[in-house]
Symmetry: C2
């Protein structure tokens, strides 16, 4: 029994509740009218991994190809990304994040940081110390999924 987590259903249950609550909270961080979670996730991937074809993007983001085609069209219309046809394969489209897209991602990160600082402001020192101590473990947790091979270890939001 290598992992205590698998043998401690009560803690797993509490963690499960905590994740759901975090998700519900994060939904309120970004002001209305901003880019969607799907758009942000897609732009972030392009920024981190470089230009990708539409079908690869769709697969990586877990949506259908037509959904990604539409999202790319919308984001191109907003100047947040650019499309081009690669040399040697006129069937494909390569998509890359634009400078404006990078700016949007940076603004989102700043909003998250502000939200967290607000939230952390009411936390006492020992609680924050426990969270800070768990950060490396949580980062390893998030990085440990089998399909995390798509996410290189150096990937991070600035």
């Amino acid at each position: 029994m290598q992992s205590p987590g698998a043998s401690d259903p009560e803690l797993v249950g509490r963690f499960s509740v905590l994740l759901e609550q975090l998700v519900r909270r994060l939904r309120t961080v970004y002001a209305a009218g901003q880019i969607s979670q799907s758009a942000a996730s897609t732009l972030a991937r392009l920024r981190d991994e470089g230009p990708l074809r539409i079908t690869d993007l769709a697969h990586a983001e877990g949506v259908s190809q037509p959904a990604m085609t539409q999202l790319v069209a919308r984001l191109e219309g907003e100047g947040l990304l650019a499309r081009r046809v690669p040399e040697g394969d006129r069937r494909s489209v390569l998509v890359d994040v634009s400078a404006a897209g990078r700016d949007v991602l940076e603004a989102r990160r700043a909003q998250r940081v502000e939200f967290l600082q607000d939230l952390l402001a009411g936390l006492d020192r020992s609680d924050w110390a426990a969270i800070a101590a768990a950060l490396p473990a949580l980062e390893r947790l998030v990085a440990s999924e089998p399909n995390s091979s798509r996410q290189s270890a150096h990937r991070k939001e600035p």
Copy 2:
């Protein structure tokens, strides 16, 4: 300077990245075709807080009243909740989760637990210990928002 979090931008930044990654991960837990995050959140609130009026529900969930009217109509059509007009106020509609709705929430919880056990299976004992030690602090963090007065301390997903 009560909270070390507010003075440690690098850790806050790492936490911010972690949250975004968790959100992106959780998006893949639930199989396609299941109820949306909004539907789940709404049903969970009804289960935990009892019958609510549509406008109160909309406000609590952070959406507009017409959006909630439509969601309630859809969920009623699927048998996941029930509507009734309360005594003494024929303008209102009271909404309550159904037994089928409770079953759906329980199935979601089981899926999250399974996902977490999968994820935790690759984590070593000291990492899990650090996460387990941080759980109370994280729970307090999530419960600490000013509008958390709507969430009672005893509220938890079974």
